[in-house]
C-alpha cells in the first residue's frame, strides 16, 4: 500500500490578510504531493485546533506578515491542551529574531523567513510530517 501523503494545514491567525506567501507555499506543497488544507486568513485559535483534529493534520503552517505570530504560543498551548502535541507547527513570514527565539521555546518546529526556497520548505514539512506520524504511532500503537 502506498504511503499516505503528508497532511498539512496552511492558515493565518489574528487580523492580517496578506496571503501571497501562504497561497504560494500551499500551492507548492500541493505540487510536491502533499495533502494541503488551506483556509482564509483570520482563523481563531480554537478553529485551527478543531480543524487539526478533524483533518488529522500532521503539520500546521502559520503565515504571519504583521505580528500575528505573537499569538502562536497560545496556539501551541491550545494544541497541547487538546492532546495534539504531536502536530508539528511551522511559522513563515516576517518574524523578528527575538520573536523567533520565543516561538521555538514555545514548541514551534521551525520559522521560515523571506527568501526561504519552496523546495526547502517542502523538504522540512515532509520530514516534520513523518516525525508527527511516528510520534502518534508511538502514542497509539
Amino acid at each position: 500500500m502506498p504511503e499516505r501523503p503528508p497532511k498539512v494545514i496552511v492558515t493565518k491567525i489574528g487580523f492580517d490578510g496578506h496571503d501571497r506567501g501562504s497561497r504560494v507555499v500551499a500551492a507548492s506543497l500541493r505540487d510536491a504531493g502533499m495533502e494541503v488544507v488551506y483556509t482564509p486568513p483570520w482563523q481563531d485559535i480554537a478553529a485551527v485546533v478543531k480543524l487539526a483534529t478533524e483533518e488529522d493534520a500532521e503539520v500546521i503552517g502559520i503565515s504571519s506578515l504583521a505580528t500575528d505570530h505573537l499569538l502562536v504560543p497560545k496556539l501551541m498551548a491550545a494544541l497541547r491542551a487538546a492532546g495534539l502535541g504531536e502536530v508539528q507547527v511551522v511559522v513563515g513570514g516576517i518574524v523578528p529574531a527575538k520573536d523567533e527565539r520565543e516561538l521555538l521555546e514555545a514548541g514551534v518546529a521551525r520559522v521560515f523567513h523571506p527568501g526561504a526556497a519552496l523546495e526547502d520548505i517542502a523538504a522540512e514539512v515532509r520530514s516534520l510530517a513523518a516525525k508527527s506520524r511516528a510520534m502518534k504511532e508511538r502514542a497509539f500503537p
Partner: protein, 549 residues
C-alpha cells in the same frame, strides 16, 4: 538601402556575432525587451501637445511644472501603539517640516474591532489603536487639523474619517477646510488582494463607497474619498501591467456607480486618486506610470464623459515594493529602495513612500525610517533628478516600452470588460487567478535562478545575526491600560445617544439614505469604531473575500 538601414545592418551583424547576444529577455509584464531601440521603434509623440506635460494625454506628466515646480509629497506611513504614541511621532515629523501625514491603524481596527474585542498581544504592534472620538482627539492633540493633509488608512465604512470629522467639529474647524485622502477605500482591491481591509460584503462595501464619494463631494470637498489601489494587487503578485489594468478597471467601475446616481463626472473624478507599487523593474515601472496616465485620460474623457481636464489627470501616490526587499543582507535594501524610488520619480508620481530597509523582518525602526526619507531628499536635492521634467521622455527604449505597456494594459482591460467589468471579474475569480498565476510564475523564476535576487539566490553570504535589529512592540501594560480606557469610554458616554446613532445607521443601511452621513452622525453621537462596523456588518454582511488557490 538608406544609410540608417546600412548602419543598422552592420550593428545587427556585429551584435549577433558577440557572445550571449541571442538570449531573449522579457520584463515582468511579459513584454520582450530588445537589445537596442532606435528611432525606428518610436515614431514620436504624434499630436504636438502630447510632447508637453500638463497636456492631454499627459504621458509626460499631469502638471505643466511637475517636480521642477514643486516636489512630490513625502508621505511616510506612521502609526504604532496608543493614540499618545502616535501623537508624539506625528508632532516629531511635523516639527521636521512635514505637512502630509498618514495614520496607520492597528490591524484590529482594520478588521473592524475595538481594542476590548481583540487579543492584547496584537494591539498596537502594526498600527495605532484608535476606536473612539477621544482616541482621535488624543492622536491629533495640538495638531492643526486644517493645516495638514492626512492619508487616512480607513476602509469602508470610513469610521476613522468620521471620528476625525467629529473632532474637527468639536474644535470648531469647518469640514470644508480639511484635506486628506481615504487611502483604503478601494473595496475591490480588498476582495481580491489585501483582504485585511475587507470588512463588509462586496455589494454593501460598493454601496457605502458611492455614498462616501457623494458625502465627501458635498460636505468635505477637500477630501479625496477614493484611492484606487493597484499596490495591493501588485504586492499580491500581479505583474505591473496587470496591476495598472485592474486599477483602471476598478476606477471605471466606481465612476460608473457614481454616474448611475446621476452625479456629474467633473465633480467626482477630480477627487479620484490612485496608489501604486513601484517594483525594482526600473524601466518597466516608469513605462507603467506613463502608459497608465495616458489610458486614464482617454477613459475619463471618452468613456466617462468628463470634460474638465482635472478629471483626466491621473494623480497617484506610490510606495516602493516591500515584496522586492530581502531579509538577507538587509542593508542592500537601501539600494533597492533607491532604484524603486527613482523609477517612481521618473514615472511622474505626486506622492511617495519609501520603505525602510528592515521591512523584511520588522516594522521599520527609527533609523530605517530616517534613511528612507533621506533617500528621497538625496535623489531630489543631491542627484537632482527633478531639474528636468520627464527627463527620460524621448528615450527610444522608454517611449517604445510605454507604447508596448499601453497595449498590454489595454488588452487586459479588454479581458476584464469582456467578463462584464471589474465587479463581475472578481466575483468569478478571474482577477484572483491571474494574480495567483503571476505570483507563482515569478516565484518559479526566482527559484530557477532566472531572476537573480542578490543575497537570496545570487551572491549569497553567511548571515550576520546582528543585522536584524527590530522595533520594540508597545509595552503590554500600556496597551492594557488603553483597553481599560476604551471600556471606560463606553461606560461613561451617553449610551442612549450612541444607540440612537447606531439605530439610525442601521436604518440608513436598510433604506436608501446616505450611509456615510449616518456613520458620521453615529460617531458624533459617541458610537465607537467597532460598534459602527458591527452595526453595518449586521445589515450589509461580513466581508468574506473570494480566495482562489
Amino acid at each position: 538601402m538608406t544609410e540608417f538601414e546600412a548602419a543598422e545592418r552592420r550593428w545587427r551583424e556585429a551584435f549577433d556575432a558577440s557572445s550571449g547576444a541571442g538570449k531573449r529577455l522579457a520584463n515582468r509584464s511579459g513584454i520582450e525587451v530588445q537589445p537596442l531601440y532606435t528611432a525606428r521603434d518610436w515614431p514620436g509623440e504624434g499630436a504636438p501637445e502630447a510632447a508637453f506635460p500638463g497636456e492631454y494625454p499627459y504621458t509626460r506628466g499631469i502638471y505643466a511644472s511637475m517636480h521642477r515646480g514643486r516636489s512630490w509629497t513625502q508621505r511616510q506611513l506612521i502609526g504604532l501603539g496608543t493614540p499618545e504614541d502616535y501623537n508624539a511621532r506625528l508632532r516629531e515629523i511635523l516639527a521636521h517640516g512635514a505637512s502630509a501625514i498618514s495614520l496607520i491603524p492597528c490591524n484590529s481596527v482594520y478588521r473592524g474591532y475595538d481594542a476590548d474585542e481583540a487579543p492584547v498581544e496584537l494591539l498596537g504592534t502594526c498600527g495605532t489603536v484608535v476606536n473612539t472620538v477621544e482616541d482621535m482627539d488624543r492622536a491629533f492633540r495640538d495638531v492643526p487639523l486644517e493645516r495638514i493633509s492626512c492619508g487616512m488608512n480607513d476602509p469602508s465604512p470610513f469610521t476613522l474619517q468620521a471620528l476625525l470629522l467629529a473632532v474637527a467639529k468639536r474644535r470648531g474647524i469647518a469640514w470644508t477646510r480639511l484635506t486628506g485622502t481615504s487611502n483604503q477605500s478601494d473595496c475591490l482591491s480588498h476582495f481580491v488582494a489585501n483582504h485585511m481591509f475587507f470588512r463588509l460584503e462586496l455589494a454593501g462595501a460598493r454601496r457605502v463607497l458611492a455614498d462616501h464619494i457623494a458625502f465627501c463631494n458635498e460636505r468635505a470637498p477637500g477630501w479625496n474619498p477614493l484611492s484606487v489601489v493597484g499596490q495591493h494587487m501588485q504586492q499580491a503578485g500581479a505583474t505591473p501591467a496587470e496591476a495598472m489594468a485592474f486599477t483602471l478597471c476598478s476606477a471605471v467601475q466606481y465612476a460608473g456607480d457614481c454616474l448611475e446616481r446621476g452625479m456629474d463626472p467633473d465633480r467626482f473624478l477630480p477627487r479620484f486618486t490612485y496608489f501604486f507599487d513601484i517594483s525594482i523593474s526600473f524601466f518597466e515601472e516608469i513605462a507603467k506610470f506613463r502608459a497608465g496616465r495616458r489610458i486614464w485620460a482617454k477613459l475619463a474623457r471618452e468613456r466617462l464623459g468628463a470634460k474638465d481636464p482635472k478629471s483626466w489627470r491621473f494623480k497617484f501616490h506610490a510606495q516602493t515594493s516591500g515584496a522586492d526587499l530581502t531579509r538577507q543582507q538587509p542593508l542592500n535594501n537601501i539600494a533597492r529602495v533607491t532604484a524603486q524610488a527613482m523609477a517612481g520619480i521618473f514615472g511622474g508620481l505626486q506622492s511617495l513612500h519609501t520603505d525602510g530597509y528592515d521591512e523584511a523582518f520588522s516594522t521599520p525602526t527609527a533609523e530605517a525610517a530616517r534613511i528612507a526619507v533621506a533617500t528621497q531628499n538625496i535623489l531630489r536635492e543631491e542627484a537632482r533628478l527633478t531639474d528636468v521634467i520627464d527627463p527620460l521622455g524621448g528615450s527610444h527604449y522608454l517611449e517604445a516600452l510605454t507604447d508596448r505597456m499601453q497595449e498590454r494594459i489595454e488588452a487586459i482591460i479588454a479581458r476584464i470588460d469582456a467578463a462584464g467589468g471589474m465587479y463581475q471579474a472578481v466575483r468569478q475569480g478571474l482577477v484572483q487567478r491571474m494574480i495567483g498565476e503571476s505570483a507563482a510564475a515569478f516565484q518559479r523564476s526566482v527559484e530557477r535562478g532566472e531572476q537573480p535576487v542578490v543575497g537570496v539566490n545570487a551572491y549569497t553570504a553567511e548571515e550576520d545575526p546582528d543585522a536584524y535589529r527590530s522595533l520594540d512592540y508597545p509595552e503590554r501594560a500600556r496597551m492594557e491600560a488603553h483597553v481599560a480606557r476604551v471600556r471606560e469610554y463606553k461606560a461613561a458616554r451617553s449610551n442612549d445617544a450612541a444607540r440612537k446613532g447606531l439605530d439610525a445607521l442601521a436604518r440608513a443601511a436598510q433604506g436608501k439614505e446616505n450611509v456615510m452621513a449616518a456613520v458620521v452622525e453615529a460617531a458624533e453621537a459617541g458610537a465607537t469604531h467597532g460598534e459602527i462596523c458591527a452595526a453595518l456588518r449586521r445589515e450589509l454582511g461580513f466581508g468574506q473575500p473570494l480566495i482562489v488557490v
